[in-house]
Symmetry: C2
Subunit: 319 residues, 2 copies
Amino acid sequence: MATLVTQILPGLPTIDEHHVDRRRYPDGVAFMDGQYVHMSEAKISVLDWGFLHSDATYDTVHVWNGRFFRLDLHLDRFFEGIKRLRMKQPYDRNKITLILNNCVALSGHRSAYVEMICTRGSSPMFSRDPRQAENRFIAFAVPFGSVANKDQLERGLHVAISDTVRIPPKSIDPTIKNYHWLDLVKGLFDAYDAGAETALIVNANGHIAEGPGFNVFVVKDGSLRTPAFGVLPGITRRTVFDLCAEIGLLATAADVSGAEIKAADEVFITSTAGGIMPVTRIDDTVIANGLVGPVSRRLMDLYWQKHDDPAWSTAVMYP
Amino acid sequence: MATLVTQILPGLPTIDEHHVDRRRYPDGVAFMDGQYVHMSEAKISVLDWGFLHSDATYDTVHVWNGRFFRLDLHLDRFFEGIKRLRMKQPYDRNKITLILNNCVALSGHRSAYVEMICTRGSSPMFSRDPRQAENRFIAFAVPFGSVANKDQLERGLHVAISDTVRIPPKSIDPTIKNYHWLDLVKGLFDAYDAGAETALIVNANGHIAEGPGFNVFVVKDGSLRTPAFGVLPGITRRTVFDLCAEIGLLATAADVSGAEIKAADEVFITSTAGGIMPVTRIDDTVIANGLVGPVSRRLMDLYWQKHDDPAWSTAVMYP
């Protein structure tokens, strides 16, 4: 801060020059306003409309064994989201690639969860007109995280279906990756109440939509299906389609009912945070024989193999 | 920060000890973690789920001529929202009242926009489980702002109806005041494109819902109506019901169609940010004779009179 501004008013507490935050944050590096800082310093104003109106878009790419996975697809979606929200940020694709690389390299992480964000920002007069806000770009790299832990990846997740309805596309365009998650958080608490580990929520027609940060697939009679309507077009979801094409499995996007998902041969979820993760129980129903199935295993193996393939991944330039 | 952590890696930029934010923020005072700080210091981590998942609730009360208006009702709604989101914050009602008072008094503002916020917060390991997050309470006071400026209050606002659908209650409970605003922001840009000053968006049945930060009322043949379904139960909306009861006007909550609002005798919007604000044009339709109507004027006058009434307002304790 430029100047020390501490006031002492009679009968009132004093105004401190700086906010002191004693919370601990994960080990990582962020980029803001041309600077690289540790995660404990990566903060936005409480007046940023990205917070006060969730007026923001973002994307998350992961680094595995020192390589970005499908970075181009994440950048495509991020730039498209910014355009649709009519925001501007100062960096081109190459510069953002460099910034993401630097966040990872400076963090030292070989496996990382890397997020790029554009918020509406704020204006000095706290104008309510979004056209008057100065948009803000942020990026950060923290340790890789997964929806499913090691144990859950081996035995399969226990998922509960919540009757919470995913925010419909007529309200929020799901192709703009966004932070509107209170429906997913509600689903998650419903799932915890039911003794499950994570949740699926439904779309306006009562069909399965998605879960907190993931898409879902069912395998039945050797072919795959994933909900088509009102869901985020996930990059890992798309990767499953690409892998299926490569090995000759049929995958389609179409409605999936609660009854259908419980009658599936196999079920898995997909997310940048964990990749392809098996589900072996939904509500009180054990899926098939309750073990992780062969199609899931084959796709999981192939998914992780692709992380070393230069056609699917890009090396981080560490010092 | 406790220690200086600056790394220099070959070929990479350095990590700065502190983020330097050159943006200007409005004059005001915030409360965070037991401290009072200027707005330029009031920041939350980019890892706070209140930002990354819009997992937060809030309320906004205003101060006019040195008095809080209907603070009790705002506190009731805030505490109810925190409970429904299963969050915890350490302060009771009296302490929050004191904190809000101190933010206003330290800011010196006689008229202020005062916000209290509870976010999901974060956990040191960046856990995806909301039960593991340490929730965060924030409050701040900035200069009073209004949806309508002086000119617009005199001549009436020009509003456009957007076909964007307000996030339905089956997705997000609207009684929990929340920051899920991308639908409202979309409506606002639609309105700007149409040459209007602000927007109304619709509910899932195509009826009028609400606008960015406000409810709406129509006056027809001497009685009032405001949308019932899928809208925030605004405190200013409730105040209109209370004022109508006092002066013997009939007010009901029921569906309002686009055709009905354009055929109204008078239209006004209600918000803590500006109170009761007249609308004289909707899309290309001039409402009645295009002037602010007598019922709107009477309610506006009464609304501001109540700001001095100890039954409706509480004095800020300035030093």
